[in-house]
Structures are given as structure tokens and as C-alpha cells.
């Protein structure tokens, strides 16, 4: 079975098949009509010949039938010419006159039924076509038969048939081809609303879930498909909404009990006990935050045309994490341009990525060392630490969800870097990891820089 990728090519193919079949059928029909017409002409000619032969029949003084053909007719029916022949039979079937050498009738069948009859008969190698015409002379009734040997058929009528194919037959092909081109044009025009719908469909993305395909201009035959796609999009949008709502609800349901627990611990009278519990609750809150971030990121997408100032975001995160770092005896420093560095992206998501890199760096950097944020004009943010660095073999693993180098280490979920990676994906940003001399790691996120 032939398969076509495009409707146009399918139509062209089927049209060519149809054109081929049509031209064959048309030729057959036309040639049948033509031969019918020529046969008709021929029959008429034979009838006329029979009439003119009949006109030469007369009665002699004894009342016997006489055939007195003029010279031109004699030549026509001569043996030498051999093309035409005639015979006259009476009502008993007796052959009265015949141009044939054996003096027989042209048509052996009984021709004495109808006044005019058209017949054909095989004689030896030849097929004789002809007519039989009834004529009454005096009290005698005779039938005059005239015939033509088809092997020697009239050249003129044959020429008409041949000419028909040469001249008329060739016209049908271009006409059918023009029709084909017209069909393609009509079809392309009819498909235009579909092409427009496709362009709209290309713009459908999670950040624009409200987009639907237009149904007004769509041909009625295709409208069920377009409507079904729109309904499918409705369901998808609903799905996104449910998941977003779920994330928001889950955040509330998980964080409120933690807030209760945390407040209860803060009000404990034994402060030593409280410190350990607080640490646990804070760790749990951190895990929940990261899980919610991941869930939220799975339903989020970048709005087109959204931009963020990487410098401002980095400064905001540096401010945010500085107290945490200082509390652990570690420093934070930010360097790079002080003017805005515009990149394609969402400030909130950029901030989460940088925050996760920063928290990782603070956790791993040696006490007394500095975690550095370096912003570059080309839209890159580097986060450098003085920790143990990342081994070659670990560089692929670190971005996996829940991967941890040391599972016994508290407070690490293994989610931070997978959040960073997801945000980088959403922003078409690249992540690179390098080790520093003498020790430490440098994580770089390169976003798409915009000209300010």
C-alpha cells in the first residue's frame, strides 16, 4: 500500500491515476462513437448504392427483369476493383443478378424480411459489410444487396479516425493536466486555514495554556479534528491547573504543621533539647521546600519575552544567604559588574538556581573560607567554593535527583542541583562544573544574555 506524507501528493497521485483512466476510457468511448458514426455513414452509402442499382432495374418487353448498369457503376463493381459487390434476389431467394464471380448472393441469410437491412458476412479472407433494400418493379419484388469488402475500406473514414487521435486526442491530455493544476491550487487554498491553525498550534506551550485553535475558517470536514484537539488542550490545561493547585495546597498543608511544630519547640523550656529539634525541623522544612520547588518547576515554563537582571538577582541571593554563611563562620563575596546584566529568564527561578548553588557551596566550603559569586557581562553567574571539589566520575551523578555523595550527611536532600539543572533547562542555560586550585569547585550557569 502506498503511503503519502502529504495530502497534496496523495491528491496529485490519485489525480494522475484518474487522468490516465479517464483518457483511456475517453479514447475508447470516442473511438467506439467514431466507428459507430463511420459504420453509419457506410451503411447509408451502401443503402444509396443499393437504391441506385435498383434504379437501373427495369422490365423488358417479355416482362422479365433487366439490369442495365452504366459504365461507372460497372467499373465500381468490377472483379478487378474487387471492393464493392452487388446481388439481386427475388422473393424465392433466387439470385437474379450478381457481381460476384460465382453468381451468388452477398449475404446467405434470408434478407427477405425487412425493406431495408444492414448485414455483414465473412467470405473467405474478407468481411463484407452491406445493405439489403427491397424494391418492387411491376408485380415483382426483389431485394438488392450491395456490399463493401472491409479489407479495402474507404480510406477517407479511416483517415478521420486516425486524425482524431493525432489532433483531438492530444488536446484531452493538456486539458486534464490543467485541471490537475487547478485542483492543486484549489486544494492548497482550502488547506490554508489548516496551515494557519498549525502555526498557532506551534505556539502552544505550558506558559500559554489558554491558546486554542481557531475553528471558524476550518473546513467542516476537518473541524471535528480541530475541536477534538481543542478539547484535549482543555483537559491538559485543567491538568496543569490541578497540579499547580496541588503544589500550592501541598505547600500549605505541609508547612503549617511544621510551623506549629517549630513554634512548639521554640516554646520548650529545655533549650538544649530545643536546639536539636529545631535543627531537625529546619532540615525537614528545607526538604519540603525543595520538593515543592521541583513539583512547581515541572509545571512552570518561561513566559516569552521575560527578562531578569542577573546582577540584581545574584546580589539579592548573596544578601539572603550571607547571614547563614556568617553563622557558620564562612564568608560571602560578590564581584562583577555593578550595572544590570539582562538575561532571558524569570528572576524568581534564577534566584532559586543561584540560591541552591550558594547553599551547596556554603555547605561544602571549608570553615573560614569564602564563597564567591562572580557575575559576568555575558550572562554567566559563577559560584565558587573552597570545598573538596567534584571528581570527574561524579560530575554526571550530581545533577540526579536524590543523589548524595555521603548519605549519612544530615541536611542534604540531593535535590538542590537537580533543581538548578531543571531551571537551566527551562532557560536554555548551560551548566559547567570545574575544580579549582588548590581545592574547591566552580559551578557556572550561562544564561542567554540580552542587549540592554
Amino acid at each position: 500500500m502506498l503511503r503519502f506524507k502529504s495530502i497534496i501528493s496523495r491528491i496529485v497521485f490519485l489525480h494522475i491515476v484518474a487522468v490516465a483512466i479517464t483518457s483511456i476510457l475517453m479514447s475508447l468511448a470516442l473511438s467506439w462513437l467514431l466507428s459507430f458514426a463511420t459504420d453509419n455513414i457506410h451503411d447509408k452509402a451502401m443503402q444509396e448504392q443499393a437504391v441506385s442499382v435498383g434504379n437501373r432495374l427495369g422490365l423488358d418487353s417479355d416482362g422479365r427483369l433487366q439490369l442495365d448498369l452504366p459504365l461507372d457503376l460497372l467499373g465500381l463493381y468490377s472483379q478487378a476493383y474487387g471492393r464493392y459487390s452487388y446481388a439481386v434476389i427475388d422473393d424465392k431467394g433466387t439470385v437474379l443478378f450478381s457481381s460476384l464471380p460465382d453468381h451468388t448472393a452477398l449475404f446467405p441469410a434470408d434478407t427477405r424480411q425487412a425493406p431495408v437491412e444492414f448485414l455483414h458476412h465473412r467470405r473467405g479472407n474478407a468481411t463484407v459489410f452491406g445493405a439489403s433494400v427491397k424494391k418492387t418493379i411491376g408485380d415483382q419484388t426483389v431485394w438488392i444487396q450491395t456490399g463493401e469488402d472491409l479489407a479495402n475500406r474507404d480510406v477517407l473514414t479511416d483517415d478521420i479516425v486516425a486524425d482524431f487521435y493525432r489532433n483531438v486526442g492530444w488536446i484531452t491530455l493538456p486539458i486534464l493536466l490543467v485541471l490537475l493544476l487547478a485542483d492543486i491550487a484549489i486544494f492548497r487554498r482550502a488547506l490554508r486555514p489548516l496551515r494557519e491553525a498549525s502555526e498557532i498550534a506551534e505556539g502552544i506551550a505550558p506558559e500559554r495554556p489558554g491558546v486554542r485553535l481557531p475553528t471558524e475558517a476550518i473546513p467542516r470536514e476537518v473541524r471535528p479534528l480541530v475541536s477534538a484537539v481543542n478539547q484535549g488542550l482543555d483537559r491538559l490545561e485543567e491538568g496543569f491547573r490541578i497540579q499547580r493547585d496541588f503544589t500550592a495546597d501541598a505547600a500549605h498543608e505541609l508547612r503549617t504543621p511544621l510551623a506549629v511544630l517549630r513554634s512548639r519547640i521554640d516554646l520548650l523550656e529545655d533549650p538544649k533539647m530545643g536546639d536539636a529539634l529545631r535543627h531537625d525541623v529546619d532540615g525537614m522544612a528545607h526538604i519540603i521546600s525543595q520538593l515543592l520547588d521541583i513539583a512547581e518547576l515541572d509545571t512552570l515554563a518561561l513566559q516569552p519575552g521575560e527578562k531578569a537582571d542577573l546582577q540584581a538577582v545574584a546580589a539579592g541571593i548573596a544578601e539572603f544567604v550571607a547571614p547563614l554563611a556568617l553563622a557558620q563562620g564562612k564568608d560571602i563575596a560578590l564581584s562583577g559588574p555593578t550595572e544590570p546584566v539582562w538575561v532571558r529568564g524569570n528572576a524568581e527561578m534564577l534566584g532559586r538556581a543561584i540560591r541552591n548553588l550558594a547553599e551547596n557551596a556554603i555547605n561544602h566550603t571549608a570553615p573560614g573560607s569564602t564563597v564567591e559569586f562572580v557575575v559576568e557581562d555575558n550572562g554567566t553567574i559563577n559560584v565558587l567554593d573552597r570545598g573538596p571539589g567534584i571528581g570527574e566520575d561524579e560530575r554526571k551523578l550530581i545533577f540526579r535527583r536524590f543523589w548524595r555523595r555521603d548519605r549519612r550527611k544530615q541536611g542534604s536532600t540531593g535535590l538542590g542541583l537537580s533543581i538548578v539543572q531543571r531551571i537551566a533547562e527551562l532557560h536554555s542555560a548551560s551548566i559547567t562544573v570545574e575544580n579549582r586550585e588548590p581545592s574547591g569547585a566552580c559551578f557556572s550557569l550561562k544564561f542567554v544574555a540580552l542587549k540592554s
Partner: protein, 224 residues
């Protein structure tokens, strides 16, 4: 001084009230937007702690209504959603500050007091870190309860740092606070003032440290 807690989780509301009581504040508890609307129109509170997810509506709606009626009550919003966009949304609706659950009671009280100490609000004006205190009323710093003489600019820097205890103050904020929007600021002027302040504080025995977060700003904290 009475505070209003609007929080539908009764346990959390009670724990907050209990925590605030240890810090010397009495608090009333409500759990719906409807009740809060009714009570706020008749009763005066020093500040409100408002949860956003309430059973009969969104806390932000209530907040907008209050602000439309020009009620200047300081509002500290509690929310389970920590996104920056949520935060910006909350602050635009008229929240004065914002805390993501779960939070430390200490942090809640500190943020609340920061609001209550703002001009026109009710709280006394004594900010304190370790043995360093700062009275915002007469702009007087003291160490171990001994008043200290500092230059006007050192005092201004110290006030800003003390008001933002536990948080980083950006260099830009310090510049704006000291010089306003007038005139050019020498690029190292702020560094010079902070350096002098740091020297003064350590020479006079204050057990605090003014950290420089290079490229970001400054933070004052108890010395370790």
C-alpha cells in the same frame, strides 16, 4: 499592647499567642476574614499577624480592604508559599513584612518589633545586640549601658545596621540612608564610615561584629 492574630490553624494561633506573651504582648485570635473584618472596624490593634490561606477567603483581600480605608496598622503576613512573586504580590497588597512557614518565633517577634519601632508606631525605641544598645528616639548608642559619643554619620550607619539586625544591608541602602539622593558619593565613602564605626565599637568593648559582605553590603551580629 494588643496584637491581632488571624490564623485558621488554632494550634498555631495559640502557640503564636503564647510566644508573643513571653515577649510581653497580648494577642487576640481570629480564624476567618469575616471575623477579622468585623473586629478591625471597631477595635484598635498595635499590629496584625495575618495568614494568607483562610477558610473563607484570601488574607490579601482583607489586607487590600484595610489599606483602602487608610488603616496604617502594621501587618506581618504569614504564608506557606515562599516564592518571590508571592512575596512581591503580598508587599504590593500592603503587607509590611512577610514570613514563610515554618519560622522561628524569635524571628517573628524580631520582625514584628521592627515594624512596631517604625516612626508613628507604638514600641519603645531601644534596639539591642549583645551589650550594644541603640535608642532610636534620641539616636543614642550605648555599650554596657554607658552612652557613647559617635559622629553623625557613624550613628546613622549604626542605626541602619541595628534596625536590620540579622539581615544584610546593601551598600546602596547605606548610601541612600546617609546621603539621600543628593550629590555625588565618593566610591569608598561608605567603606570609610563602616571602617571607623567598626574601630570605634571594638575599641569601646562592644561584643558585636560589623561584617562586610564584599560586593553586597554589611551585617551586624553578635561577636562569636
Amino acid at each position: 499592647m494588643r496584637l491581632l492574630i488571624v490564623e485558621d490553624n488554632e494550634e498555631l494561633a495559640e502557640l503564636l499567642a503564647k510566644g508573643l506573651k513571653t515577649a510581653g504582648y497580648e494577642a487576640d485570635m481570629l480564624s476567618t476574614v469575616e471575623e477579622a473584618r468585623a473586629v478591625l472596624s471597631t477595635t484598635f490593634y498595635a499590629a496584625m499577624i495575618l495568614d494568607l490561606g483562610l477558610p473563607d477567603g484570601d488574607g490579601l483581600e482583607l489586607l487590600r480592604e484595610i489599606r483602602q480605608r487608610d488603616n496604617p496598622i502594621p501587618v506581618l503576613v504569614l504564608t506557606a508559599r515562599g516564592g518571590l512573586t508571592d512575596r512581591v504580590h503580598g508587599l504590593r497588597s500592603g503587607a509590611d513584612d512577610y514570613l514563610v512557614k515554618p519560622f522561628a518565633l524569635e524571628e517573628l517577634i524580631a520582625r514584628l518589633e521592627a515594624q512596631l519601632r517604625r516612626p508613628g508606631q507604638l514600641l519603645g525605641s531601644n534596639l539591642r545586640i549583645a551589650n550594644l544598645a541603640f535608642d532610636t528616639q534620641n539616636r543614642q548608642a550605648s555599650i554596657d549601658d554607658q552612652p557613647q559619643v559617635l559622629s553623625a554619620r557613624e550613628t546613622a550607619v549604626l542605626e541602619l545596621l541595628m534596625r536590620s539586625k540579622g539581615r544584610v544591608v546593601s551598600k546602596k541602602q547605606v548610601e541612600d540612608h546617609i546621603f539621600g539622593h543628593s550629590g555625588e558619593v565618593a566610591s569608598n565613602a561608605i567603606e570609610v564610615y563602616v571602617h571607623r564605626l567598626r574601630k570605634q565599637l571594638s575599641e569601646r568593648g562592644a561584643r558585636v561584629q560589623v561584617h562586610t559582605i564584599r560586593g553586597v553590603g554589611y551585617l551586624i551580629a553578635e561577636e562569636k
